[in-house]
Symmetry: C2
Subunit: 367 residues, 2 copies
């Protein structure tokens, strides 16, 4: 394995070890010691377990020492306090103890819910993530954020609780639908744009061939690079009070789109892709950048070709104001100035209403 496939994220409570490889044998090798002789609770999703439970079961330590495997419903529907409550109950009924451990195996929903349950069961069990989607591999599993949604807004309830290990198998990516693969790459674009110019160039050049061959070894390098970029930001700003806000690029509007459409209509990455386009337009309109929009727009549109459904400007602005990062002066919009450079700006609803209406009209026509 290349040295570049292994990195570390230092945080207040210790270190998360990040490692990227291929399939079940790799995961087994990386987790064997961590799961040995422990009660292991695996949190996964029903579709992921149906596809990969057989191949990865032993590697994850599933059910070790009286533990259990919990299959969540698919998608955002699983990110509720009620689902977390059900897991707490089942872990207690299974004899969960302070030295029990949690392994998550799935996409962003699974890492978010499994991470939250691990953070709060008996005030914190050790957790490791084995992320199976691009989104989870480069974003959700890195940095200790966990969360569930409330009906009115996303990720409102959660905790910071870092994993001991993030063990990332890229072999699972070849079963992802092309739409999900593309949407996941939107988060990679986000990090490339604001953190890593080489990653951006690589995406521009190789996007088609990467999408054609999700099992390819170049994916390991891509994922590992994106993980390192995110880890570096998290290390410098663990509680998202400053620089980590850069990772919110595209998310201010993206979250609002998801909240108003209802979760599941667009994939998270698709909503974020639209959000990045809008943020880039806001930047251009304010003279923060000159021709970056022309570079970014085509790339983002290759990832998220779906037009936006019709959306009410008023309801979107209301949802933007409920964003958990919003303070009284309005939420922070991360506006790109060019590769590796960005500017955080607080904008209230009334300051962007017109631009948002224009953007929605164009996006609805697929422009």
């Amino acid at each position: 394995m290349m040295a570049g496939m292994r990195s570390r994220l230092r945080h207040g409570a210790g270190v998360s070890e990040l490692v990227v490889g291929d399939g079940p044998e790799f995961v087994q090798r990386e987790l064997a010691e961590w799961v040995a002789e422990r009660q292991i609770f695996v949190v996964t999703s029903a579709p992921v377990w149906a596809l990969y439970g057989g191949a990865y079961c032993a590697a994850l330590g599933a059910g070790g020492d009286g533990g259990a495997v919990f299959e969540l419903p698919d998608g955002e529907a699983a990110k509720t306090p009620a689902v977390a409550g059900d897991l707490w109950q089942r872990m207690l009924a299974a004899g969960g103890r302070r030295d029990s451990r949690v392994v998550t195996f799935g996409g962003g929903t699974v890492t978010d819910v499994g991470g939250f349950v691990a953070a709060t069961f008996m005030r914190g069990l050790a957790v490791s993530h084995v992320p199976t989607t691009v989104l989870a591999q480069v974003d959700a599993a890195i940095g200790g954020k966990s969360a569930v949604n409330l009906p009115a807004a996303k990720n409102i309830v959660g905790a910071f609780h870092h994993p001991d290990k993030v063990v990332t198998p890229t072999a699972v990516l070849d079963s992802l639908p092309a739409r999900e693969l593309r949407a996941g790459l939107a988060e990679v674009v986000k990090m490339a744009v604001l953190l890593d110019g080489e990653l951006l160039t690589l995406l521009e050049h190789d996007l088609s061939s990467l999408l054609d061959d999700p099992g390819d070894a170049r994916w390991q390098a891509l994922i590992a690079t994106a993980q390192r970029a995110k880890a570096a930001v998290v290390e410098r700003d663990p509680k998202e009070q400053g620089e980590r806000r850069v990772l919110n690029f595209g998310h201010t509007l993206g979250h609002a789109i998801e909240a108003v459409l209802g979760y599941g209509v667009l994939l998270h990455g698709e909503a974020v892709a639209h959000g990045m386009r809008f943020a880039t337009r806001l930047a251009a309109a304010r003279g923060l950048e000159s021709d970056f929009e022309h570079r970014l727009d085509p790339l983002i549109r290759r990832l998220s070709p779906r037009p936006l459904p019709e959306l009410s400007v008023e309801r979107l602005l209301e949802a933007v104001g409920r964003d958990k990062k919003a303070e009284r002066r309005g939420p922070v919009w991360v506006l790109p100035r060019g590769v590796g450079s960005w500017h955080p700006v607080r904008l209230r609803a009334d300051e962007i209403a017109g631009e948002l209406a224009d953007f929605l009209a164009a996006a609805n026509r697929g422009c």
Copy 2:
């Protein structure tokens, strides 16, 4: 104010300031800056608010900047995920933001639930505690532990989340029923026994006059001393992996008694008092101490004169095994060896069944 009334607890994420004083003016003085120009959510209980809402409302910053006052049902019934879920929803509906702040005003239930909601809303809001019972003042509010119960076991879901300030008014103690005042002192006895011989002597000499006059200035010194004793332990063992276990003296059986009886039959301190007596007996039977039982027993019995209701040994042992501190070799029992000295021992159900049956038979007769 005496210097001794102000102390600090250093923890991984910063410092908690602990300050003890008398009534509303004192609280106002201590919190004014912390609540200024912030959205403030006060978490309290209905009976506490009925008694003291009027006098303390302004001092707590209640409702500041569009915040709200949340009155929980009284007692353990409020410590559920459903109640936490309701608070999350109401905070979101009220426009809760990352820079909103939480003030808890009440007993241990209020600090536990309010602390948990503060720990998890938007991944953590700043919180300060204004504890109004002896139990909350010397124990629940100090050390960052927060929790809610599941039906089958207490404090199973929670987080470590330290308050910025613990502002303790002793004036409120004079409205506590004598039974609750005595039960709260059981936690003071716990800390005195294992951490502070002078505090123990003071309790032995002055218990009657302290109980006669809850508004007395000596209470401030008593509470401040107990807070400092707990804070010192927490600083040395923030996540309860070692020395902090001393604070579990009496709680291994105490929690089980509460779980089997149903919360609310005995007060927490009463259950802990019985647990301390049993742990002291276990210590004596194992030759860990010689005559400490004769010193401790009379004091504890002055605090908790109620005989134990009839209880099934089997159900108690089962509940002990579910304690969140239990690992595979059985839960840790903190056995006292004398003032300031203790010994943690893992004991499985089968190792204590006989002694527990004897203890219950005697306690049921009021012995």
